[in-house]
Symmetry: C2
Subunit: 213 residues, 2 copies
């Protein structure tokens, strides 16, 4: 297909596609004449992945290139390649907790992972986020949330199973990676929004005008 069609089908403007081509985020098209390059379904899938990384997950252009290089490595399994994409869209988040937070409860997280039988790398950024979040909760005197770690973990396993099943209906690695980016970012927002609504509803029941509190 021509550049105009690639633009129409991907929803990415022609100048932006040209920019991605210059930056090496998209492989060049095949020259069908000195002035015309031709693009394939592979370009379209790659473009959708690039778009999800940049527009949705806000990964900087320079990092997208590094991520795609890792993703295109032939020596890694699909899990490892998707892992590179997954980590790019889930930066480690610092949690400020106040000064009391000194001893991170790494042990608690390690034991949780062991109990659940989760196969995760010890340097996964989400582990650090989890440790800092629990530390912050304790420092702020809200230990009760951290006490329910297993209940949370069990519930997220239900999500994660559904999500991974959906992602692996794709066979093309670029499409799988795009699904992972979108699902990670938007799925998180979906869950957060539903949780807030559930809170509001339960608060209305327990503490609303009819509750007498």
């Amino acid at each position: 297909m021509r550049l105009a069609e690639l633009s129409r089908r991907s929803g990415v403007t022609v100048p932006t596609i040209k920019y991605y081509l210059r930056e090496g985020l998209l492989p060049p098209g095949e020259l069908s004449s000195p002035n015309h390059a031709s693009y394939t379904e592979h370009h379209l899938r790659r473009l959708r992945l690039v778009r999800a990384l940049i527009e949705l997950a806000h990964v900087p252009v320079a990092s997208v290139k590094v991520v795609l290089e890792a993703f295109d490595s032939e020596t890694m399994s699909l899990h490892e390649r998707i892992g590179a994409v997954h980590r790019a869209v889930t930066p480690h988040r610092e949690v400020t907790a106040g000064d009391e937070a000194r001893v991170p409860p790494t042990e608690q997280v390690r034991e949780l992972i062991e109990r659940r039988g989760w196969a995760v790398e010890p340097d996964a950024p989400a582990i650090a986020t989890l440790v800092e979040t629990i530390t912050a909760l304790r420092a702020l005197g809200q230990d009760h949330l951290a006490d329910h770690l297993d209940a949370y973990a069990q519930a997220v396993e239900q999500f994660a199973a559904l999500e991974l099943a959906a992602v692996t209906t794709h066979t093309d690695p670029d499409q799988i990676a795009e699904s992972v980016v979108i699902g990670t970012v938007l799925g998180e927002r979906l869950i957060a929004a539903l949780r807030l609504l559930a809170h509001e509803s339960m608060s209305a029941r327990l503490l609303g005008p009819a509750s007498g509190r």
Copy 2:
């Protein structure tokens, strides 16, 4: 207690407490002599709530004042007063979806809320976030996540019940509100981090070196 003790027990520095006093986020202490003000447990609880709003939930100081005024209203139920705090820490998040997203699936969300029997205000910011997120998922061709809305909703009800039970072990409204702020912000991070670890683990099983993909 004196200002120095209030500072020590709250973990907030004296200059910051003085700033909060000037801004009206904290009621003035009782003057025990022309140069000495005395503070109570109520000041301490209020200070902890202010700190959670500002340092953890990043609510601007000007908004904190508005939120506290609503929270201190005697004419509202505890649910309504906590609702004011809850909304302050859960701003409506805009979800950029690309241009294809035109018709928001408000109907789908309305039906979900009805099916779950949730008592939520029609203008809850989380409803708008939910509608936009589903719109974005559809526009990006990832409808499958939105297809599992009921499964997500059921799982978050489990969280939310545990969380609200923990929050309502407190009896002081300021402490309840502080728990709501901390639990909303940090609980979301806890769930997000666990979800990422569950994904990584399932991906390792299904797509890792031993999977042949």
